[in-house]
Symmetry: C3
Subunit: 169 residues, 3 copies
């Protein structure tokens, strides 16, 4: 039987949306899929050497539950409904949300983005960075991890056109 193929276009560059491409890629690789991820637009943030700048914003996303990752269960169960007014005026609010999320991820035993990315590389997931958006955003090749290719969308279609699953994330 032919090897199944998963193609992913990763376009988002925030801490929360960093998870789906790496979770799906590493899961598929573990199931025996051949996987390629094409990083473009804000998705380029996910393959930078330094991931410490990844942040999450609850602004404009009323679907995000804001919960405290510490304290007794009843306290953690509260869904903090903080208005945009407060979110956008209090300096560092985005940083607070990022810290809360990182703490929650740690408490529930979910791997960090760096760990998931390493898992993908170990499982031979192929990473491609979109050369056009690298130039558009003014990045240098040296900003990115070593295990990457730089190419255009046309090259990605070679693989995507033969894939069993192709996701735009």
């Amino acid at each position: 039987m032919d090897t199944k193929k998963l193609a992913i276009i990763a376009t988002k560059g925030t801490l929360d949306w960093a998870y789906p491409p790496y979770i799906l890629a590493s899961t598929a690789a573990a199931l025996g899929y051949e996987v390629q991820v094409f990083f473009t637009f804000y998705g380029l943030q996910l393959v930078r050497k330094d991931l410490s700048g990844l942040r999450v914003s609850p602004l404009g996303n009323p679907g995000m539950p804001m919960k405290m990752p510490f304290g007794p269960k009843w306290f953690r169960g509260i869904n903090w409904n903080i208005p945009n007014a407060v979110q956008s005026i209090v300096p560092g609010y985005e940083m607070l949300a990022t810290t809360l999320m990182k703490q929650t991820i740690k408490n529930t035993g979910v791997a960090s983005i760096g760990e998931l990315r390493d898992l993908c590389l170990e499982a031979e997931v192929k990473f491609i960075a979109c050369q056009m958006t690298v130039e558009l955003f003014g990045f240098e090749h040296s900003d990115f991890i070593d295990d990457m290719e730089f190419a255009g969308a046309a090259m990605f279609f070679d693989f995507a056109g033969e894939s069993d699953i192709c996701l735009y994330i």
Copy 2:
């Protein structure tokens, strides 16, 4: 001929982005497709028993046309261009946008999210909640509707890998 298959990964949890997975799933089911939806991240909001918390935010989405759902045609035709400054400072602005959208949906005869969800269940669309994000966000199984399975991404690939269409929403 084999039955066509549609696999959906639903990741967004706002009132506007609640529509695409349910409209696509119910339409495909009506056309004879076998359909599975994997709810993960903020998408978990869409399968909660209580949908009243679904809201829409125009903040950070300059593509959203804000129109009044009442009054004469010329008045409803105006595209209200309300600056972020006002949106984020006036308390309850997100609630106003949500009310306007619900009223518009009602006026144009579009079904509510609850109705579309019921349509999907009647058409035997299979709903799966991502167990990892259920734990990450601190939800309980009892927060969700009864007709659900709880599983991981690996289980979803069984179906997605055989699907004709697989969408990440």
Copy 3:
């Protein structure tokens, strides 16, 4: 060998997210794919006659690098980390971000949205607007470019169900 098929559902209506559907559609068409794009929700903004209203918002998107498109290289290399507080209170901030992005796109030689859209039409990419969301948002058929069909999701599945790649953008 059969012609490859690419189906796209375009749902976003901002200046940055206008690029992916048009770049992917035009690239695939150049590679010999048959391509259909279904414009729905905010994606309808991308097929309006007048594209001058397309804007970009850094609000709620901490993954967006804000760089100056002029001046010496060291100056352009700075990643301006402007807090949400300033972004949402200073009137016209979204307009500034839009201008910076348009200038950057021009400086790096990337085509404008109007040019990419024309490329798609010349390459016989088929454009379909979702009739339900056209009515929901109160648009008129005359708001859109001439080379369009108006139809529902069911019609789109005819093509998508036979496609090699189907992307929800």
